[in-house]
């Protein structure tokens, strides 16, 4: 297996508070990785550094063999739109747009022609189990599970190499969580998309091929022992 994304000795602090204190990690193509750890351990900061949402203070983030931590905002923004997908807990869907528009939006922003973009968006909504009745509904009219299906369709429609998920089932009940995780991992595996997922839920981490635990800004097992 080849590493699709990796980081070396990442450090990041917010003011004087360290969030990452030397994290090194590698994720293979098609691998599903769970990042676990208590609140405030640095797990979301790690995900945001890997995804190019924030830049580390030091260390390297390498995507597909190229460093991305030293790219400018514009280039990282393009990378996030074209190579990465995102499934977060809340607030990613544009509330004024229908489910179909939400899924088509990143495709159109990425230069896909309108007709093709809407065709692909429709196919993805069907693939995540939402029939035509739901395509023209606003996110506020969908259940939590249905809205998260739209989010998965939107993330996968751009055919990302890596999908980043932060507490992807945080707002859902147990049954909806199982359904969403089976869907998320299933579609990602078919597309050979890697998943990097932050979760504090063991039952969600169990869908991953491997888990790492962040504790005080380091990976458990990579701590400097006193």
């Amino acid at each position: 297996m080849n590493a699709i994304i990796e980081c070396h000795d990442l450090h990041k602090a917010y003011g004087t508070t360290p969030a990452l204190a030397g994290v090194s990690l590698s994720i293979d193509t098609g691998e599903v990785l769970a990042i676990m750890g208590p609140s405030g351990s640095g797990k979301s900061t790690l995900l945001h550094c890997l995804a190019g949402i924030i830049t580390p203070d030091s260390g390297q983030v390498i995507y597909d063999g190229q460093r991305i931590d030293c790219l400018g905002d514009d280039k990282r923004s393009v990378l996030r739109r074209t190579a990465f997908g995102f499934v977060f807990q809340f607030g990613q869907l544009v509330p004024e747009l229908t489910a179909l528009d939400n899924v088509a939006l990143p495709l159109l922003l990425g230069g896909v022609k309108r007709r093709e973009g809407y065709d692909r968006a429709t196919q993805w909504l069907m693939r995540v189990g939402l029939d035509n009745d739901h395509h023209h509904q606003l996110p506020g009219h969908l259940s939590g599970g249905q809205a998260q299906r739209v989010t998965i369709a939107r993330a996968m429609a751009v055919e990302p190499a890596v999908l980043f998920a932060d507490e992807p089932t945080g707002a859902l009940d147990s049954l909806a969580s199982q359904q969403i995780m089976e869907l998320l991992v299933g579609v990602a595996q078919q597309a050979q998309t890697s998943i990097v997922m932050v979760t504090h839920e063991p039952s969600i981490a169990a869908y991953a091929d491997r888990e790492v635990v962040v504790r005080d800004g380091r990976l458990a097992g990579q701590e400097v022992r006193a």
Partner: protein, 175 residues
Amino acid sequence: MSATYAMLGLLEGQPSYGYELKKAYDHLLAMGKPLAFGQVYATLARLRRDGLVSEVPDTDSSGGPERTKYAITAAGTATLHEWLAQAEPSAPHLQATMYLKVVLALHGQGEPNRYLDAQRRAHLARMRELTHQRIGASIDQVLILDHAIFHLEADLRWIELTSSRLTQLKGELHR
């Protein structure tokens, strides 16, 4: 088995008499099931025979009857640490053993996080197997697998919470 490691763990803190070990066991580890004196001394005799503990000179000059004091040996420490670092096979109702390992590691020189990390890995590996089995299983199998997964999840929540509380627990145990 638990009494064996409990004696080693308690002795790692400091050399002790049999009655002190019983008192510490009943206070820290018994969970409503005190250890009989006979079991304490039988365990110590077996540990001594196996070279895991040794008798040390009694420096207590209170004038009472002669008593035997025990200390953990280097072999005993190695045996204890090997056991503390080892994850238990994932099975329901592991609470007693998980609790025992954490308290003994805190009491002596062991590293509770090393054990908790190993146990988390073992539990998650089992949970991963069950989760894979659940995908596409029949509904009766799904219900059984859900039940097993939720039990493992309860253990894992305890592991996370305990890991977060280690500093506080260590402070209280050594007070």
